[in-house]
Symmetry: C2
Subunit: 249 residues, 2 copies
């Protein structure tokens, strides 16, 4: 049942972080469409500004589409309220500061502040990572719907480094810890060179709607020294969200 809408969206979904610029033929293959059909769709999308074509003939996602995407409440509303707090946290730590939300069974990074002296991390605004291997993921998983939690723990968990925790029982213990302490510390579970300290951000009704983290180099820095600042920032954002008129789904 190939509806036109689905095809249009498949074309958009053909772009990815590692291949953000595609030729028409690549696009057609990735979207699973005949060349002539892809040609027409892409033409319409380009005319509207959803895609743009550069001099070399490759297509990439256009600014108009980015603009529409920027209206997503979980991005726009959250960012706007959180930014001053993230800024403060960055100024105190001078490390990568990240804000992420839960979507499906993954973490989606919504904002990241990084300075020249921060560790280079491979997360990216708009990027996804699994829940079990990141600080923000552990926080979101710890406060998620139990049904989702079980589903995630039941599935096979990808190992990124020798330190990645893939054992459901141990993860369960860690999640309980996160709930009692209010912070998660993920040490080298995604990249050995970095560790992250994360805390939950709550919406007006008390649900956890996001998580923030500071990523610090794993060079002997004591992660616990960051806990108070991270926790305070998360509380600050939660309070600001409660006062703001923005709503979250």
């Amino acid at each position: 049942m190939p509806t036109v809408t689905a095809r249009v969206l498949d074309v958009l979904a053909a772009f990815s972080a590692d291949r953000p610029r595609l030729t028409l033929s690549e696009l057609a293959v990735r979207a699973g469409l005949p060349l002539s059909t892809a040609h027409r769709l892409v033409g319409e999308l380009t005319a509207w500004g959803a895609l743009e074509r550069s001099d070399d003939g490759r297509y990439h996602v256009g600014l108009r589409l980015w603009e529409v995407g920027a209206l997503a409440p979980r991005s726009l509303g959250l960012r706007e309220t959180a930014m001053p707090f993230l800024e403060d946290l960055y100024e105190v730590t001078r490390q990568n500061v990240q804000l992420a939300v839960l979507d499906g069974t993954e973490v989606v990074y919504v904002e990241r502040l990084s300075g020249r002296s921060s560790v280079h991390v491979f997360t990216r605004v708009g990027g996804r990572l699994p829940l079990h291997a990141t600080g923000v993921g552990l926080v979101l998983l710890a406060h998620a719907d139990p049904e989702l939690r079980e589903r995630v723990l039941a599935a096979p968990l990808r190992r990124y480094t020798e330190k990645t925790v893939c054992d459901p029982a141990e993860l369960r213990r860690m999640l309980a810890d996160v709930r009692t302490t209010g912070v998660a510390i993920s040490d080298g579970q995604i990249e050995l060179i970095s560790l992250s300290v994360a805390a939950p951000v709550r919406g007006p009704n008390g649900d956890v709607v996001a998580a923030l983290s500071v990523v610090v180099p794993a060079d002997g820095t004591n992660p616990h020294s960051f806990v108070p600042a991270v926790r305070a920032t998360a509380r600050g954002i939660s309070r600001a969200l409660t006062l703001s008129e923005h709503h979250f789904p």
Copy 2:
């Protein structure tokens, strides 16, 4: 000639910054579609994740669409490279720091850092403003294709405050100034309470690909004192862009 693609995009375009959450009927009206058609399209978009539906039945832009939008090179590539420099600039000034690009005859804001002590401005990431009334706009206009410049100056220019410069001749003079000094200072032209200091960001081939600005309160602060920092930041980003492997259209 209502192609399906156009309809899908019209549905997406129905959302705006002041109305980011719409009911089905509102959407149908705004997109100019019969209710039943809107119903089907919105259903397909929601199934894919381009739209999301909240408990109150309203629709809003979904995270999946935001993710795809985040792949736009002018957003992603630019942001990634510029962030550390913007961060530095924020730390020095503690004011709103903005990064914007040119699209059509308008400025589009790509990133904004704001702290608790910054002036509250009404620009917004993903938002648009005209070229003649903002600092970044003047910079982008000054270095734009002459054909575009003439077109903008020929069109009627909206007045936002008593200080907005709407006279083509005077604007032309200001733009020449911007080209020689390398910075633009827009004083109260969009809001009386704030002024901005802007400078051009250049891509690998020397073209101006973006502009950055610092927005400061118009309370007697001397804008000229910000010029060196803004200029240095813009230069830093330009240099970093030249070294990076990202390309810009």
